[in-house]
């Protein structure tokens, strides 16, 4: 996994609550057996005016000029600013895959759906929780300032605005450690294989029907 330490990135605002993973990556793209190439179809139904299917040449499709991420000023954004309960619905990891492939490394929202939140960390992405009031402020600043960038420092757990305002965020210590060092979860867990085997033996003795 790619490590994440710091980022100074352009911010794109998506001013909606409850953005679900069906919206982030519609189901027709889930037929793929790969884990890359989803970025061109991120937010497909909002981003394009025509209906998208896998295998289409997306450069020839009709762009929806009203969709915020299509605006010139947000091209190249790596930080997505959004509202509460982002990533709700389906557990599809294709959603963080699509966002990451699109270019987002950091998401800032007041809250996330649990499964999506967890899936982000498995893909070197950092979902940051800030209070609804701070987020309101950031939305206005982004709207009023073309080229608005934020600096994110995972080690210090801070988001810094262009004017130098610092917002602290909370991140689970284990997830932070994995992200900072780009550690692969499976490799880490395999270091505990003796403990797993020991547990399994005890578990089998206590509930033998689970192993019948």
């Amino acid at each position: 996994m790619q490590a994440f330490t710091q980022l100074n990135g352009l911010v794109a605002p998506l001013d909606r609550a409850n953005v679900d993973t069906d919206a982030i990556i519609p189901k027709q793209f889930l037929k793929s057996i790969k884990r890359s190439g989803f970025g061109v179809n991120a937010f497909d139904e909002w981003r394009y005016l025509d209906h998208g299917e896998p295998g289409m040449d997306n450069t020839k499709r009709q762009i929806n000029p009203d969709f915020v991420l299509n605006q010139t000023r947000y091209q190249g954004a790596s930080i997505l600013l959004t509202r509460e309960n982002f990533g709700c619905g389906s557990s599809r990891e294709h959603a963080p895959w699509a966002l990451e492939d699109f270019g987002f490394k950091v998401i800032i929202a007041p809250s996330y759906a649990d499964i999506f939140f967890n899936n982000c960390f498995k893909n070197g992405m950092l979902p940051i929780v800030l209070s609804a009031e701070v987020i309101d402020g950031l939305f206005s600043q982004v709207a009023f300032t073309e080229g608005y960038k934020l600096s994110v420092d995972l080690a210090a757990q801070t988001v810094t605005t262009p004017s130098g305002e610092v917002h602290q965020f909370v991140v689970d210590a284990f997830r932070k450690h994995c992200l900072l060092n780009g550690l692969d979860d499976i490799g880490l867990t395999m270091q505990q294989q003796d403990k797993i085997k020991e547990f399994e033996a005890k578990h089998k003795q206590a509930q033998p029907w689970l192993f019948a």
Partner: protein, 470 residues
Amino acid sequence: MAKTLYDKLFDSHVVHEENGTALIYIDRHLVHEVTSPQAFEGLRIAGRKPWRIDSIVATADHNTPTNGWDKGLAGISDPIARLQIETLDDNIREFGAKAYFPFMNANQGIVHVVGPEQGATLPGMTVVCGDSHTSTHGAFGALAHGIGTSEVEHVMATQCLVQKKSKTMQVLVDGVLGRGVTAKDVALAIIGKTGTAGGNGYAIEFAGSAIRGLSMEGRMTLCNMAIEAGARAGIIAVDDKTIDYVKGRPLSPKAELWDAAVAYWNTLHSDSGADFDAVVMLNAEDIQPQVTWGTSPEMVVGIDGCVPSLELAKNEVQRGDWERAYAYMGLTANTPISEINIDKVFIGSCTNSRIEDLRAAAAVAKGKHIAPNVKLALVVPGSGLVKAQAEKEGLDKIFIAAGFEWREPGCSMCLAMNADRLAAGERCASTSNRNFEGRQGPGGRTHLVSPEMAAAAAIAGHFVDIRTFN
């Protein structure tokens, strides 16, 4: 100290714990074609094998067609979908499984219907699947939740998941549900109260006399929708109904193991006096048949209600959501729900495709016919076994005579990955679980209801109150 059911299930599976992050052991891993190929590929690249093959039970469901089965795999016209289904076949052949029900197998079906009916889901288990509706299995007093594909690979490789303990929420529903009010209505009424983010960070335990009164099918419907309230897991204590349901299933324990299992399962309830981090209470008598009006399951009202007006929105953000929902759904505030006409009906999904759901819908449809404005009314059984049972009872004939289409099992128009979908602007009464924009097809408009309410809407051509419908 008095423990909640969640505490008991979690604590009994902790392999290792450090600074609040635990490694928990997984007993059952359910696998389907959409969220597994990248996980198997990851194993292959790293040269890893599944830790415990006999924990894996797999089936193809999300992408499979619900008609044209006479042509076999060749009948899947979409080559990308066919490849994904074949990839699951290949992966299971290469890596192995305790049980596999491939496309068109007599036991194939929606993974959350198949697991319980095979006895692959047992009380006290930890159950995972790369699907958010894995919460369904919590109906058996199991700790069950959806995971992403990286975690699917992690569980395959290590039999464990890295987890932080959730907070606990008790949802207490006491009283007796009125006639025509189902588990689906209870689920939607709860979500209407908590909101779709209300359960974020929590495991929900559903309790109270109305929950105890539900059948196992009803409990599965309720736990299935815990995720729509934001909770990864929903659980219900084990009782005699749970044990009766599990008994005699192909993968259930037998003989002396059965007795030992039952003795343990009978301890799977929250201790009296156990503390929950949050408690939500509803009176069963207050719950009406529910219909969603918008693009999130929390946008829901009783059948005698109206599309709510903006003054009722709790804040600016919700006001914006509602305005977008009105536009997307083609509805205006204050429209009575019973005046909303529908174009299509979908009876199916991991929420409502079990035999009891089909019986309830068939009882409404019997001797009647779908309205002329209803272009398509689909009935998609949850599994091959549900379909066979329904046909034995003659339910298929009732549906067909009433103008419904009787299809092969699968996820179908719940998520519209296969050919079953809504066209833009079409309005559907659906027994599924999500009314998100585009969920049942781009531009499609979904209203979530119970099977009875969906069948009644099919007959009437618009939503009707099942309590007075005949």
